[in-house]
């Protein structure tokens, strides 16, 4: 993307006082993370004001956890055995809501055009939006973990592995979710397309997160750490894919 300064006459002094012309200097390196922080801050601020997470997404997740108890008989101790799987399915379903919310924020009032005009690096925008989703999901996971501990009578053993696996899985879900949101941005069929696109892609995340949590809860963390590593790799892979793809997608 051409920078603002390239549009100026060649004779203009390169380092003028206007903020636009100082942009290319801090473009590289830290600038990207700073820009990501700006976008993430914006999304989280919107969330803090609108409270969609607190009033819609978290209750949804807890209801899903409750529904599983109705579907599987709680008295026979099945819930305890399959709790990690149920937990991550609930998180995955809630991710769909969070992703659709994150792209709805950009759809209204020409916010997408605003983002494009902001001259932020598309990679930074992607990281920022993914980070905002990740923060929301982590808050949701904290609540849902408490919910399964209480409702399914789970003893939260192996906390380090639980946390690391959750971080990896959350980053993976946020990166792929942001990508799916960008792919479907501006389409009327967005709400139905995102699940169809996203769910098959995150099969490895479900697998890794569930296995890692099972290992942690069974007090056999050595079996779980390789899965946590897989989650980390997945997150890095999709963060890279997303940063590359976001620019062209934003330009549509």
């Amino acid at each position: 993307m051409p920078t603002a300064s390239s549009a100026r006459p060649v004779s203009a002094p390169p380092a003028s006082d206007s903020p636009a012309s100082s942009r290319p200097a801090d473009r590289a390196g830290l600038g990207l993370l700073r820009e990501a922080g700006l976008v993430a801050g914006k999304d989280i601020r919107i969330e803090l004001r609108a409270r969609v997470l607190v009033f819609q997404i978290v209750p949804f997740g807890v209801v899903v956890i409750l529904l599983f108890a109705f579907a599987l008989d709680p008295d026979r101790g099945q819930l305890g055995r399959v709790a990690p799987g149920l937990f991550w399915v609930a998180v995955l379903l809630a991710t769909l809501l969070a992703v659709s919310r994150a792209s709805a924020v950009e759809a209204a009032n020409g916010a997408r055009d605003g983002l494009r005009l902001s001259c932020l690096d598309p990679g930074g925008i992607f990281l920022g939006k993914a980070a905002a989703i990740a923060v929301e999901l982590l808050a949701l996971e904290a609540v849902l973990t408490a919910a399964i501990a209480v409702l399914y009578d789970i003893d939260l053993a192996g906390a380090p592995l639980l946390v690391v696996a959750a971080l990896g899985a959350t980053a993976s879900l946020a990166a792929t979710g942001t990508l799916a949101g960008a792919l479907t941005a501006g389409l009327r069929a967005r709400e139905t397309l995102v699940p169809v696109l996203l769910l098959p892609v995150v099969v490895p995340v479900m697998l890794g997160a569930t296995r890692a949590w099972e290992a942690a809860l069974d007090n056999t963390p050595s079996e779980g750490w390789p899965w946590a590593a897989l989650l980390g790799l997945f997150a890095v892979l999709y963060a890279a894919v997303g940063m590359l793809a976001y620019g062209p997608l934003l330009e549509d």
């Binding site: 993307m1 051409p2 603002a4 390239s6 549009a7 494009r116 005009l117 001259c119 990508l179 792919l183 479907t184 501006g186 389409l187 009327r188 069929a189 397309l193 169809v196 696109l197 769910l199 098959p200 892609v201 099969v203 490895p204 697998l207 890794g208 296995r211 079996e223 390789p226 897989l230 997945f234 892979l237 894919v241 793809a245 062209p248 997608l249 330009e251 549509d252």
Partner: protein
């Protein structure tokens, strides 16, 4: 059309109208290929059902292998072609409507052959394994593959600006995901249980006639793939051409109602419409002012 035979070339790029008339192959070549495909499939039916001996262990059920294995091979080939064509579309130097159309046509065939692989495998698994479905790494990967590209096709169907770009990126994401899915599922299954029927089956010696039939089946199915790809590509080109021409005709008709405007105005409008229809070729995102 002096288009040379198998691989799709960008030469259609120079003449936008030309590719609406032809497929990937010259019509004569496509017809010959169609006849050859039909002959090969007939020969395969005879070879597979009558000439090749029944399997010592699996009996006649094993004959499904002559369809199942080439279908699986074609599914992978088709998705690889989709990924390649999508990458070529995304690279601005090779960007052409050809690649987008090719990617879509190939993905449809890939989904078809993946479904065929799953159904045939299931039919074979019932008598041989005793179950319709097993949580084998390969089966799970194939099922995920199917849904990944169903999603891709769903995304492709949504019209609007940027459709080609979205589709191309989605195709590459799906392609990147397949090895990860396969690796993780394989890891999952090997942690739980050792040895599947596949290993045992693959290590078995394949008798000469059976091996020949299998290779012949792969060849026949590859011919079928190329033929169907050409047909689907041609259909896609015709659909696009129809939309464009209907718009042009409507504009020309509308302008003809105003007698003051000369024919050249109609021509100019038609030209604009055509250029807009091919707007995807233009670079996007100029200097933000």
């Amino acid at each position: 059309m002096p288009l040379t035979t198998p691989p799709p070339t960008t030469s259609t790029d120079a003449r936008p109208e030309a590719d609406a008339e032809t497929g990937l192959l010259r019509p004569r070549v496509a017809m010959v290929l169609g006849v050859a495909t039909l002959a090969a499939l007939t020969a395969l039916a005879i070879l597979g059902l009558a000439v090749a001996p029944p399997d010592a262990v699996q009996g006649d059920a094993q004959r499904l292998m002559y369809l199942h294995v080439p279908a699986a091979w074609l599914a992978y080939l088709a998705f690889a072609v989709t990924a390649g064509a999508s990458a070529l579309w995304l690279w601005s130097r090779t960007r052409a409507a050809t690649w987008d159309r090719l990617a879509g046509a190939s993905a449809e065939l890939g989904v078809l052959f993946t479904a065929l692989t799953l159904v045939l495998g299931s039919l074979w698994g019932r008598p041989v394994w005793g179950v319709w479905w097993a949580w084998d790494a390969r089966l799970v990967t194939t099922a995920v593959l199917f849904f990944l590209y169903v999603g891709y096709l769903a995304l492709r169907r949504i019209p609007g600006p940027g459709r080609e770009r979205r589709s191309a990126i989605a195709a590459l994401i799906a392609f990147v995901d397949v090895p990860v899915v396969h690796f993780s599922v394989e890891w999952w299954r090997t942690l739980h249980q050792q040895g599947t029927v596949f290993n045992e089956e693959l290590s078995a010696e394949i008798e000469g006639t059976m091996a020949f039939t299998l290779w012949f089946a792969v060849l026949a199915f590859t011919l079928l793939y190329v033929y169907l790809l050409d047909r689907r590509y041609r259909l896609g080109a015709l659909e696009e051409g129809m939309e464009r021409r209907e718009l042009d005709a409507a504009i020309a008709e509308r302008l003809a109602e105003a007698p003051g405007r000369a024919v050249e105005a109609a021509a100019r409008a038609a030209e604009t419409a055509r250029r807009r229809a091919e707007a995807d070729v233009e670079p996007v995102g100029g200097a933000p002012r």
